[in-house]
Amino acid sequence: MFQILAQNALNALQLGSVYALIALGYTMVYGILTLINFAHGDIFMVGTYLSLAAAVFLLGLPLGLPLVVVFVGALCFSMALTAVLGVVIERLAYRPLRQAPRVSAVITALGVGLFLENFTLGILGPEPRHFPTLIPLQAWEIWGLTITPLQILIILGAAVLMVLLDFLVRRTLLGMAMRAISYNRLIVPLMGVPVDRVISLTFAIGSAIAAAGGLMYGLAYPVLDPYMGIRIGWWAFIAAVVGASAISGEPCWGALSWAQWRFSPRCCCRLPLTGTSWPFPSCSCSWSSSPRACSAGRYLRECD
């Protein structure tokens, strides 16, 4: 029984880490602009395809590059380009609407998301693509648990990115500016904070992290199609809402508990959920009372 639960938790942690990386982007943008960036899931999708392209290209070179190099190369390439994509979207689509009613901005976000999706569909066609194997497929048995190197890579990688982001938001000047803007966007420029640049950087960081999540997702679930952005982005979005409205204010916890929840029914054991320290009970209640979800934006603010 314990093994099933532990294995279940481990698998949930793997998927949850990916969700968490996407959810961070939702939360950062919501925190700073109070905009639900519906396009974020599709940015994640583009990031995944970009890492696929980079991986295929690097593997195809007649140099016999080691897999580690290919992995790092694909990661850097997709993070960089997706960051640019995020900035461009913000610059072209969201910035002109900063003074407009919020509904206009949300509709725009929806439009941008569908545009990215259909654009990708137009270029690549609807058939799924296969992601090459970059991490050796092997499994270790520890105390009856099956652990793969990929699992460790995803969980650790996500953890490292989250710690880095946390450091950025809490300890750096940029992070302070982000938090300040989330409090009051009108006053902050008077203090000499370059609001536009900070918002651009927020989009860049959020998108880059989503791209990292995209690469990890591609490695773990190696079949990609243009609709994955909406499909997975939607779960990640729920994770962001759930996580941010939990007391801890950390979207990653929400993502993890949410992933746990999605996995559990398959393993026929909902029992452990109540026993975990994750803020699970808040999922259902916060989702049903969506006004509370407004606190999603508080993540940035409550870091102090």
């Binding site: 639900i36 689509a93 002109p96 609407l97 407009a100 009613p101 919020r102 509904v103 206009s104 901005a105 949300v106 509709i107 725009t108 929806l110 439009g111 941008v112 998301g113 569908l114 545009f115 259909n118 654009f119 569909l121 137009g122 066609g125 909406i230 939607w234 009372s289 969506s290 006004p291 979800a293 407004c294």
Partner: protein, 319 residues
């Protein structure tokens, strides 16, 4: 005043009757080729959809992005009625009733969205409606009885230009009467300032309920018309893409305007038809148009304006 208005009202009724006669005669006489008639019917169905969505998004200022869900429910309900329930011979006569039943089914679903709207506004209601759209689609996909993802077929082709025109006229008439009554003014007051509306005695909850019911009803009717035009429906026809198309038509034509809805539906439908050769790329146009509209013309062509004959007439009184 009263005497001044009489000619205008009768002129409009005359024009409506003329339109209906034309809709009956033109396709039969063969003056219009069938392709054009087909496009006209799509324009009409889209007009109904746009008018219905405009009530919620334009007049009430709420934010529904899942309207295709209502349309789907109406389409399936009406189709089940004509295919399974009614004897084939009756269907041509029962068609208006079938559409009304489809509309009512959608209106019941409208309740599901109306209740969250009491507590939630803006972004979060958008999420609720989006989720509603997705739920409808996946429920339909999982219902093997109605064909699951393969879709549902066997409907007779009952939709013709006459019925489409008639329903467009009914929709315009009813919505116009709603908009220029205290209920309509109350609905616009919700858009402008919900708290102040409540404090001036407007029962905002009840009005939200009305708005969602009426809006969902007409979306359902449009779904029924759509199903009996194509004679084949599947859940994918009622996905978020369809909802986005409706949003584009509303925001293209103009929020809070009946004329805008008619205009937006016409322009968008014809445009999509012209762009048909682009194939898959055609679907990039809608979202792109939506983004550009939001940036450059957020209120649309006719935002909050109305054609003269659609404006409020002074209520004719005995004095």
């Amino acid at each position: 005043m009263a005497t001044l208005n009489k000619p205008k009202t009768s002129l409009i009724s005359l024009a409506s009757v003329l339109l209906l006669v034309l809709a009956l005669v033109l396709p039969a006489s063969g003056v219009l080729n069938p392709y054009v008639v087909q496009i006209l019917m799509y324009v009409g169905i889209n007009m109904i959809l746009t008018l219905s969505l405009n009530l919620v998004n334009g007049y009430m200022g709420e934010f529904s992005v899942g309207h295709a869900g209502f349309m789907g429910i109406g389409a399936y309900a009406a189709s089940i009625l004509t295919v399974w329930v009614l004897p084939r011979a009756w269907t041509p006569w029962a068609f208006p009733l079938v559409l009304v039943v489809g509309g009512l089914a959608a209106a019941v679903a409208g309740l599901i969205v109306a209740f969250p709207s009491f507590r939630t506004r803006g972004d979060y209601l958008a999420i609720v409606t989006l989720a509603f759209n997705m739920i409808v689609k996946s429920v339909l996909e999982n219902l093997e009885v109605v064909g699951g993802p393969r879709g549902f077929l066997g409907m007779p082709r009952l939709t013709n230009l006459f019925w489409v025109t008639a329903w467009v006229l009914i929709t315009v008439l009813i919505l116009r009467r709603l908009v220029y009554s205290n209920f309509g003014r109350g609905i616009t007051a919700i858009r402008e300032d919900e708290v102040a509306a409540n404090l001036t005695g407007v029962d905002t909850r009840r009005l939200k309920l009305y708005a969602f019911l009426i809006s969902a009803f007409f979306a359902g009717v449009a779904g029924g018309l759509f199903a009996h035009l194509l004679q084949f429906i599947n859940p994918r026809s009622f996905s978020i893409i369809k909802s986005t198309d409706m949003l584009v038509m509303v925001y293209l034509g103009g929020v809070g305007s009946l004329a805008g809805s008619l205009l937006g539906a016409t322009i968008f439908t014809v445009l999509m038809e012209v762009l048909r050769p682009l194939g898959l790329w055609r679907w990039v146009v809608g979202p792109l148009l939506l983004v550009l509209l939001m940036i450059f013309r957020p209120k649309g062509i006719m935002g909050f304006k109305e054609w003269k004959w659609l404006r409020e007439e002074k209520v004719a009184s005995s004095q």
